[in-house]
């Protein structure tokens, strides 16, 4: 039994971050009959409109009626947005496994904004928190199975035979006795008259033909041929392009601008203003960009003009002295055990503000009219985005359509929709369709940032150096309070902060444990979710600390972890042993090299990572290789799990080494890829992923790699040099003495 099961915080966290399912009902969202311009023949990957008159047994499957002997179209509605994680391919596989259709023959439709496609774990229609696989697992297979049974029933009625004689295969119903067959489209109209069955038994894993097998992504061809329509690519008749500048100091306002100078730039047609931002509109982005420069906006900067990075860190460190922290979670009596311990050990970790900087800069296209509005946007939260436009435009929600576009990188940035709201405030001032594209500088400097955090960990040790108690003091803002207030505990704790360090989302058993929270909101910026969310934050703290304790006791760090794993988490031992074997843990390395390990149980998946670093040059961290062993339960597509770990590791690795958003006089100092450094090919180590076969419930995977890598590298650096870096980013810490507090 998990000692924490049923505890309010743990349960709440499970709802917010972990499990939960797509809520789906028979009620279909209302659609307006628009045709998306397909630019030719529909093909897999290109998004299509909801087909009219289709057999629509549930929110996910559409079969268009076809003439005798013809196949008809099968459209699947994608409940989650595609931002690189491969979810479109995966959703199709889950439905197709039960519906018996070839995934390459399927057309895709992005789900419209609707409660029908809500991810219960996130409380809205959203893609994030590595919840997609977990939430789609049953509902999508059930949708496929229900549709299949209805098509079979319709065929049985047509043939006047028992449904038991029928089977389905590759988009057809077959009569096993007579050998007759019908395409699904041929019986779609009759099937549409039937009542969808409930709880059709799902096929056992032994019968799966698609799930668990590597398969190519369905969106590759359109992406490599430049035909994939991202939000930024949307073009509609009469559309103009605008680019914006918002006050670089949060809370500031437009003071003055040279409207005439901007309008004098060839191609510029409008200058629009809202309270805290301006937008220059032109025939093309470059003209708008030139116009924005000519506009020479001046700002009333307001009260945040004094904020700089030092103030932010100081407030966080001061929080550690707060006399009355909130006791967020506990087990046993850790403070007492700490007071009575033979020895105590303490460490303080610091993590910076981070930008998201997806490769597709922030953008939003929309057309607001008197009677309604159309929005085309890359967003992780279609429903919130649609509702924001409706509210700003003063329109009924039903009159606003939103087309979810392919996303050129989300990483949590597009869980925010303030850019859609801003775009709507500009677009409602003009009669034409307007596409707003942010410059990269705007994208980085007006981002909503992963918070900076300070954590103190104290352990009580017995005479032998074994841990008898652990106390965490967490200082930082509560992103959850703004993004999903219902997810906060009633005492005021953001459960995301406990991820990876506290049960149930840790593989370790703590005899006595306490987690104290000191909430400090960050001045001068808005804080937000970022890839790996609480896992990225928490693992750097706990996995660095575990390593420190192991070295203190002179025990091999991998062996130390093995001893601390709770008996409830045998799968943690499995990944640890696998990564030890695959990485050559314990084998000799050249001088200046070191290996570091990270063990985790977050997003419902187990993973152990070993990073090997080379510090022959003591002022440069070269990551030589990364091995990750992963047990994420049942796998839909092994190659895409591997891809997500590879990509997640590289994403987190560059950030852990180089990145930190800093403020001076209230302004973010980093501005483009010249000052906000993204890891490049020549710096990216090979990432080897080792999968464990498992029939456990599927866990999330898109964020695991990002969460693992910072502590793995920090621990490897300690192994290579004896230096413990407790401050991110690591390159900066390496060059200063601060990192070691």
């Amino acid at each position: 039994m998990n000692a924490f099961a049923g505890k309010p915080n743990a349960a709440r966290r499970a709802v917010l971050i972990g499990g939960g399912a797509l809520v789906f009902s028979a009620a279909l969202p209302l659609r307006r009959g628009r045709a998306r311009d397909l630019g030719g023949v529909p093909e897999t990957g290109v998004l299509v409109e909801n087909p009219a008159n289709a057999f629509s047994p549930n929110a996910f499957v559409r079969v268009t009626p076809s003439a005798a002997g013809e196949a008809g179209e099968i459209v699947m509605v994608m409940p989650n947005v595609e931002m690189g994680q491969g979810i479109y391919t995966q959703s199709v596989v889950l439905i197709a496994e039960e519906l018996d259709v070839d995934p390459v023959n399927i057309l895709l439709e992005a789900a419209p904004p609707s409660d029908v496609y809500m991810t219960a774990a996130l409380g809205t229609e959203a893609t994030g928190g590595s919840t997609s696989t977990m939430s789609q697992w049953d509902p999508l297979r059930q949708a496929g199975a229900a549709a299949r049974e209805m098509l079979k029933q319709a065929a049985a009625t047509r043939w006047g035979c028992s449904v038991d004689l029928l089977k389905t295969e590759n988009g057809k119903v077959l009569n096993t006795k007579t050998g007759q067959s019908l395409f699904y489209g041929e019986v779609a109209s009759e099937a549409a008259l039937l009542t969808p069955p409930k709880d059709v038994p799902l096929r056992p894993s032994s019968e799966w033909k698609l799930i668990g097998h590597a398969r190519h992504r369905l969106d590759s061809r359109i992406k490599v041929e430049g035909r994939c329509e991202f939000g930024i690519d949307v073009i509609k008749p009469g559309m103009k392009v605008g680019t914006v500048s918002a006050c670089p100091v949060m809370g500031g306002r437009v003071k003055s601008m040279d409207r005439a100078a901007a309008l004098a730039v060839p191609g510029v047609c409008d200058v629009l203003k809202i309270d805290n931002a301006v937008c220059v509109v032109a025939d093309n982005y470059y003209a708008a960009h030139k116009g924005l420069k000519a506009l020479f906006v001046q700002w009333d900067e307001g009260e945040n003009a004094h904020v700089d990075t030092a103030l932010i860190y100081q407030q966080l460190h001061d929080g550690l002295n707060d006399p009355k922290p909130l006791v967020a979670e506990k087990h046993g009596d850790a403070p007492k055990a700490l007071a009575g311990a033979a020895k105590t050990y303490e460490a303080i970790y610091q993590q910076p503000l981070l930008a998201h900087s997806p490769m597709e800069p922030i953008n939003c296209a929309l057309h607001i009219r008197k009677d309604g509005a159309d929005v085309w946007v890359s967003t992780q939260v279609p429903l919130r985005a649609r509702d924001a436009v409706a509210e700003i435009a003063g329109l009924p929600k039903e009159s606003v359509t939103l087309s979810s576009q392919y996303i050129g990188g989300g990483f949590g940035r597009r869980l925010e929709h303030e850019y859609v709201a801003q775009a709507a405030m500009f677009a409602k001032q003009v009669p034409y369709p307007l596409k707003i594209v942010w410059s990269r500088e705007e994208d980085i400097q007006l981002d909503r940032y992963r918070p900076a955090y300070v954590d103190r960990v104290r352990a009580g040790l017995d005479e032998k150096g074994d841990m008898t108690s652990i106390v965490f003091d967490l200082v930082g803002p509560a992103v959850c309070a703004r993004w999903a207030p219902a997810g906060m505990t009633k005492e005021g704790f953001d459960p995301d902060l406990a991820v990876a360090i506290a049960p149930p989302e840790t593989p370790y058993y703590y005899k006595n444990f306490q987690e104290n929270y000191i909430r400090r909101e960050t001045p001068g910026v808005v804080t937000a979710w970022w890839r790996g969310v609480g896992g990225t934050r928490g693992l750097f703290v706990i996995e660095s600390f575990m390593d420190e304790l192991a070295l203190l006791k002179n025990v091999d760090p991998l062996e130390w972890r093995r001893r601390l794993i709770s008996h409830e988490h045998p799968r943690a031992r499995g990944v640890l042993d696998l990564v030890a074997e695959k990485s050559g843990w314990g084998k000799p390395l050249p001088p200046g090299h070191g290996r570091g390990v990270c063990l985790q149980f977050v997003f419902g998946s187990y993973m152990a990572t070993v990073a090997t670093v080379n510090l022959e040059d003591p002022l440069n961290i070269k990551v030589v290789s990364v091995d990750s062993a992963v047990d994420c339960g049942e796998i839909v597509n092994p190659d895409q799990v591997i891809a997500q770990i590879e990509g997640g590791v590289i994403f987190g690795l560059g950030t852990a080494l180089f990145d930190e958003i800093t403020l001076k006089n209230g302004r973010v100092q980093e501005s483009n890829f010249s000052t906000w450094r993204i890891i490049r090919m020549n710096e990216a180590p090979p990432v080897r992923v080792h999968l464990v076969q498992s029939h456990e419930k599927p866990g999330g995977i898109g964020e695991c790699g990002t969460a693992a890598i910072a502590p793995a590298i920090a621990n490897a650096i300690a192994a290579a040099t004896g230096r413990r870096l407790r401050t991110l980013p690591l390159m900066k810490a390496l060059h200063s003495s601060e990192g070691e507090n």
């Binding site: 430049g226 025939d283 093309n284 470059y286 490769m359 891809a643 090919m681 990216a684």
Partner: protein, 152 residues
């Protein structure tokens, strides 16, 4: 009016000569396969070929392009090397979000046209100007080698 030869077709556009090729392609000709990532030649998302060489369209004034031959992601598949690169990308499942990939493919194609069998070091040299935020570098490298194989 400025005359442009793009993917073997002639286009005439009416913009100021300082307008970068990127925005002529995307906003005037509606060829949106070439991407905007940074606007300052730091990310490679806008990579196209100018007379067969990889260049950053975001900093290439259209005035400098007149009379020269431009190839974009929409046209590179007509070239056997470009086609081999695209197919290798699909085969290896390189793409994630895919936003950087047109630029990666253009850069890789230019490399292979010059160096049919590049070493890892040569691949690094040719492609380190192309950022992939999704972290697909390992697969890009594999796919470049695979495309080289296809050619031989």
């Amino acid at each position: 009016m400025i005359d442009l030869r793009i993917n073997d077709q002639i286009h005439s556009v009416d913009v100021t000569p300082d307008t970068p090729l990127l925005w002529v392609l995307r906003d005037i000709l509606g060829m949106v396969g070439t991407k905007f990532g940074c606007g300052i030649a730091e990310c490679g998302a806008c990579t196209v070929h100018l007379d067969g060489k990889a260049v950053r369209a975001c900093v290439l004034p259209i005035g400098a392009v007149s009379g020269r031959s431009v190839t974009t992601i929409e046209g590179v598949g007509a070239d056997p090397v470009g086609k081999a690169v695209q197919e290798a990308w699909i085969e290896r499942d390189v793409v994630q979000c895919g936003y950087c990939q047109p630029g990666q493919i253009m850069a890789a194609t230019a490399l292979l046209k010059e160096t049919p069998h590049p070493t890892d070091m040569q691949i690094d040299e040719a492609l380190s100007g192309n950022i992939c935020r999704c972290g697909t570098y390992g697969r890009i490298r594999d796919a470049v080698h695979a495309a080289a194989e296809r050619q031989s």
